[in-house]
């Protein structure tokens, strides 16, 4: 049940993305996008009630869902749904019908990457998903061909790329810290990091990970998915 919902949640924007690229008719693309976002929204709604205390894994452990990611996905899908309803009227106002299929394809791609990001079990792939949202959304910001949106896109990609490079630095440092416990090569998943966190040297990130892991261990939750 949970697996089917997650599959539908991420397949709907993917179908809309491919459909927009194939069909290219503006009104059909609009409809595809609204339907896809509605499907994602409906699939996301029951998620927090289906996920219990321990995270569930799918597709040979590439996909993870826990309570936090369920709530993040609900928030994302609400925004995606409302924005795609609003986009219909707004984009008709711009009178860009011949390029409109690109906008909706990018829009569905943005929905797909933002919904898929919180589901990734590997920290590296999670980073890649966030990076993909950046790349897709830059072209969304630059869609209107006026100076203001070019300026906005430039500033956006500068700020976001600098931010994502910091996230990459953090990923490398976390992996380095874990390699003292787990050896030079290991699969960097959230569960592996959480289990190794109490044994890691706390110098690099005492305030965040180690403290949280100790607290979780004290509450006896780590044993549940160890």
């Amino acid at each position: 049940m949970l697996g089917a919902l997650l599959l539908a949640l991420s397949l709907a924007p993917l179908v809309a993305l491919v459909g927009c690229l194939i069909v290219r008719r503006p009104r059909i693309c609009e409809a595809l996008n609204v339907v896809a976002s509605a499907v994602s929204f409906l699939c996301a709604l029951p998620l927090p009630f289906l996920v219990d205390g321990s995270p569930s894994l799918f597709w040979s452990d590439y996909i993870i869902i826990d309570r936090t990611s369920a709530w993040v996905i609900i928030c994302t899908s609400i925004v995606y749904f409302l924005a795609s309803i609003y986009a219909v009227g707004y984009m008709r106002m711009l009178k860009e019908d011949e390029r409109l299929f690109r906008f909706y394809a990018l829009f569905a791609g943005f929905g797909l990457t933002t919904l898929a990001g919180p589901l990734m079990n590997s920290v590296g792939i999670y980073w890649i998903a966030i990076e993909l949202t950046t790349l897709v959304s830059t072209f969304l910001v630059a869609f209107e061909r006026v100076a203001e949106s070019m300026e906005a896109a430039w500033k956006y990609i500068m700020a976001v790329s600098a931010g994502i490079s910091l996230a990459l630095l953090g990923t490398v440092l976390f992996y380095w810290c874990g390699s003292f416990v787990l050896g030079p090569t290991y699969q960097m998943t959230w569960a592996v990091l959480t289990d190794a966190a109490p044994k890691m040297n706390p110098t690099l990130f005492d305030p965040c990970v180690s403290a949280r892991a100790r607290r979780l261990r004290d509450q006896g939750r780590i044993g549940a998915h160890a």
């Binding site: 630059a142 600098a162 110098t203």
Partner: protein
């Protein structure tokens, strides 16, 4: 862990290559000519490729040879070529308006390196690695990060900002080669791939900036300010 039992020859080779790439980022800071930035970046990428090969040889990681070749191909040849084409098409030679003179930025960069050294020394001491090449790897990683941010902040040509971002990424890449050579291959491949996409985006954006704003200096981007 590779860095804990590394021969004196290998340590000195790694140190030499890391220091050389740090020096090349100072070349970028001390110049005003976009061509110089580009040559320094290309040379830095070749050095990082050599470092990957050296780490692969001494640490027995055959997959690092592949990464070295990809680095050489993408960052050493393809990216500089793409940026060179943008520079030629835009017909910009150098930074015209400077907030911080090149000499001043060199001094600020030197302070950044000192700060990075003191942070890295503390971190390495906590891991009992203070006599190894890890101190140098962390220092170069953090100081190239800071120098990249400095370039983003004080340079105005779009090309300089792109190269600033690439310096940020190069720093992380260099550090991760020495600190976590066993990190799964996937991530490195994707970093290379992402960089390529990013520059393709930048090529598009620079073209747009030129046609719609009329200049590539980000100083002219002042319609959207808070």
């Amino acid at each position: 862990m590779l860095i804990q039992h590394l021969g004196p020859l290998a340590s000195s080779l790694f140190s030499l290559l890391a220091i050389a790439s740090l020096l090349l980022s100072f070349v970028m800071l001390g110049s005003r000519w976009l061509k110089n930035y580009l040559y320094a970046f290309a040379a830095e990428s070749w050095i990082i490729a050599a470092l990957s090969a050296a780490v692969g040889y001494y640490g027995n990681y055959p997959e690092l040879y592949l990464i070295a070749m990809l680095t050489l191909l993408f960052r050493g040849l393809l990216l500089p070529y793409l940026i060179w084409r943008i520079i030629r098409r835009l017909n910009v030679g150098r930074e015209i308006h400077v907030i911080l003179q090149p000499s001043t930025s060199l001094v600020v960069g030197a302070f950044f390196v000192m700060f990075a050294l003191s942070v890295s020394f503390r971190v390495a001491t906590a891991f009992q690695l203070e006599m190894t090449v890890a101190v140098l790897a962390l220092t170069v990683m953090l100081s190239m990060k800071l120098i990249g941010f400095l370039m983003l902040a004080v340079r105005h040509e779009a090309i300089s900002q792109i190269l600033g971002l690439l310096v940020l990424e190069n720093g992380i890449f260099l550090g991760s080669q020495i600190l976590v050579p066993g990190m799964p291959l996937l991530i490195e491949l994707v970093i290379l791939f992402d960089l390529l996409i990013i520059v393709a985006c930048f090529g598009v954006l620079v073209g747009y900036l030129l046609t719609h704003v009329g200049s590539t200096s980000t100083l002219d981007l002042k319609r959207l300010v808070g």
